[in-house]
Amino acid sequence: MATLHLVSHSPFTDSRLASCLRLLDSDDALLLMGDAVYALCNGTSFREELESLAASISVFALTEDLQARDLTQTLPIRVKSIGYPEFVKLSCHYLRINSWL
């Protein structure tokens, strides 16, 4: 069942994102928010891992959190920056929403 995964913790302080990446199904999507957007920093293993995910897995990041951390200019091509209206649309599109609390 296609699931939207929400991650808001930094991947450098715990293993939530690492666990999530292992469990992503081919038609799932990942939305990074809060400190989880640090996974998109240049030169990190998490960025490499996100870039090498199957093309069928969509990856999003919340625009306000990218802006707050000055990461808007260096986004990988496959990562889409979205606002709350798009966040709502995604949560309707995917059948389940799994928050990595």
Binding site: L6, S8, M33, Y84, F87, V88, C92, S99
Partner: protein, 132 residues
């Protein structure tokens, strides 16, 4: 689409702000929020005693106004609330705390975890906010 929202984090947490912004976007998008359930440290969002500095975001007030304006069903887990000192008039009486003033904000209700389960069953989507 019908949404149930659960919030697990206190008002000073970024995820509580995110939950409110998401809820606002839901209503703007024409969706329904059948219940917002406040659990664990999320119950602090329903406290009438939180005071913020003037230059900081007053999220408890924003939640209060949001729930009031849209007549939403804001439910606070009673067990989580009592252990964090958030009581309504009835609980002040029941637990004989004559020196306590009820501090559950107007417009919210204290109830059990069953309300969370029921909302999850009735909604098309359940979305939880918590952590950071």
């Amino acid at each position: 689409m019908k949404f149930a929202i659960a919030l697990f984090s206190p008002p000073h947490s970024p995820s509580s702000r995110r939950a409110l912004r998401f809820s606002e976007a839901l209503l703007s998008g024409g969706h329904d929020i059948i219940r917002i359930f406040f659990y664990q440290d999320g119950v602090y969002n329903a406290s009438a005693n939180i005071v913020m500095s003037q230059d900081e975001c007053d999220l408890t007030n924003e939640w209060r106004e949001f729930i009031k304006q849209h007549r939403l069903d804001g439910v606070v887990c009673i067990a989580a609330a009592l252990r964090r000192g958030i009581l309504d008039e009835q609980e002040v009486q029941r637990h004989n705390r004559p020196t306590s003033t009820p501090n559950l904000s107007e417009g919210w209700s204290l109830s059990g975890l069953g309300q969370f389960h029921e909302a999850a069953q009735q909604a098309d989507r359940l979305i939880c906010f918590g952590g950071h």
